[in-house]
Symmetry: C2
Subunit: 352 residues, 2 copies
């Protein structure tokens, strides 16, 4: 790892630091990544200094986002490599869902530490291929370097959207209803399960929750369906409470959420019944990658029809309201079973 400069390889855009051990520089590209890049001609077989994309059909706009995962911070060092690849793919796909964009392709930057050997990268590539196929997106390019660690994976994702059709965080208005997809809190509880913190759950429930942590379900089809229906949308990565606050600040609104309405899986229900402090993880834990969106009450029937058509549970959890008077007033009001407000704790929100 003594080299202090950018090292490349014969395959150009997919560069491998010359200091990297294990699989040779060229092999990592030619044997692992180049076959995946066959799916899209813009990748130029990873053989040049960049990808070249034709303009999207029909004057569509290009939607671009970037998300980075660091070992030990965004995934566990002993997480299965294929699940790491799929999580990296999916948190980026979730940004496309939040924008109402159709995913087109990804660029992958891989910084490998000595801990990731050939077998690890083989399995990483399997997971990558699985999700490239599942979401019909191309591997268009990227970069591979060595790091003393931790391993770091950065994905830039490109998608398309008709002009003016993208979903933003800032379009919500007082009176809009608030909806969430799927169930909330499973991933945060899954992380706790992986750490052995939920001993009261059966093994089956623990592994189901862990799966929600490892493999987010980006709501790409839902994002496409919400074009023209939602006034504001984002994906829940920081936790329902925090992301709702993001939407409120972008939209110039406040919000009221009935906590009893927040959709929970049977496992999550079991958790908060066993230990009410786990509401913190549910509402504040994040990593849900479900879609939180706002829509006019007049759209309720259309939204329910969309959920039914896509087989995605969509649940009304509250509404946007005018910003309260006074600088210190909270923007997000979480109302408990009795209608009493819940109080934000230092991290997440404590139940009282």
């Amino acid at each position: 790892m003594g080299a202090t400069r950018k090292d490349g390889d014969a395959r150009g855009r997919q560069d491998v630091d010359r200091g990297a051990r294990r699989r040779g520089e060229f092999d990592l590209i030619t044997s692992l990544f180049a076959p995946l890049a066959q799916r899209h001609p813009a990748a130029l077989n990873l053989a040049d200094d960049a990808a070249v994309l034709p303009p999207p059909d029909g004057g569509q706009h290009t939607v671009v986002s970037m998300d980075t995962l660091v070992s030990g911070t965004h995934f566990l060092p002993d997480d299965p490599a294929d699940l790491v690849a799929r999580k990296a793919m999916r948190v980026n796909l979730s940004d496309m869902a939040a924008m109402g964009a159709r995913p087109l392709g990804v660029f992958l930057s891989v910084a490998l530490s000595p801990a990731e050997d050939d077998a690890w990268m083989d399995r990483f590539t399997e997971g990558l291929e699985q999700d490239l196929r599942a979401f019909d997106v191309g591997l268009l390019g990227g970069d591979t370097v060595a790091t003393p660690g931790p391993a770091t994976f950065s994905i830039t994702i490109l998608g398309t959207v008709p002009p003016g059709a993208h979903l933003s965080r800032g379009g919500g208005r007082p009176g809009d209803r608030l909806w969430v997809s799927g169930t909330i809190g499973d991933a945060a509880l899954g992380l706790k399960a992986l750490r052995g913190d939920l001993p009261f759950l059966c093994e089956s429930h623990r592994s189901t929750l862990a799966d929600r942590y490892h493999v987010p379900r980006p709501r790409v089809a839902l994002g496409l369906g919400l074009r023209g229906l939602a006034t504001a949308a984002l994906d829940i990565s920081d936790g329902l409470a925090a992301d709702l606050e993001h939407m409120c600040r972008a939209s110039g609104c406040a919000a009221r959420v009935q906590v009893a309405s927040v959709p929970l899986s049977a496992m999550a229900r079991r958790c908060v019944e066993a230990d009410a402090t786990l509401w913190d993880a549910v509402l504040g834990g994040g990593d849900d990658y479900e879609v939180l969106f706002a829509a006019s009450p007049a759209r309720e029937a259309a939204i329910r029809a969309l959920g039914a058509r896509l087989d995605v549970p969509l649940t009304l959890v509250g509404e946007l309201i005018p910003v309260p008077v006074g600088d210190g007033a909270p923007v997000v009001h979480l109302l408990g079973q009795t209608g009493a407000p819940l109080t934000p704790a230092t991290k997440g929100y404590s139940h009282r």
Copy 2:
């Protein structure tokens, strides 16, 4: 750094891990990056989950590349922060130059270790802004996370090129002349100077070489000018010998280079005269970020005129030739002063 999930912030696409110390999550975006993002409306003020770019004018194609720099591997941990930002920008801009693309904007992923405090990031941002202005490109989005270290910066750059006009590595043909821009070897020697390895140089020469290591000069205008003139092009990041081999393999050619023709700065000339083994660093050291290109002999006058117009030195260093018979035959022939071939060493090429 205990958090194990993706943490975001109110400004959406620019996410900061909640575990990050120093400047608050929002401040890093709102005070440092959002002002830079004002330059391009596609950035949506970094306030949403992604950037939204209109299709480029005139049906142009979009050129996309990604390059990652790791502290201690691609820059020195005590390098000035503004120069780190500018190097990260410039190695990506150099990919645009190599493709003949006009740079449009960048996405920046920042993984900060505890070593990068507020003052470091202020200076990093100054360097970033300086080069965003200098090359007239927008900061369109990105991602900010925490890492135990080393700091890692990944940039995805977008540019445009008319359909079919991009420069590739694979278009060279036997008989084409080989050209390089600028001077070769300065950056690799600059790294040696920074390490105290070139005691025979005066301080002024050492600092000039170090500057070539810290601040590459991406040849963006040259790349644009070479559209329609060059048959093949790439930027020299791995060293002239290695990158020429990349071009040869992509083009299905071999190459002959007269080492005496390789353009050296006065400092580099002084180095190889003092110590002939430094030819290894010159020809194999890399980090030049000059353009190596091939062109028909008929284009020589046009190329010389281009170099004069842009005030970029362009030097003929050799030619592409048919691939020699035999599997083991070298593809790149470096010919010394006497016409005798030079032999590749383990790293770089040794002079004999």
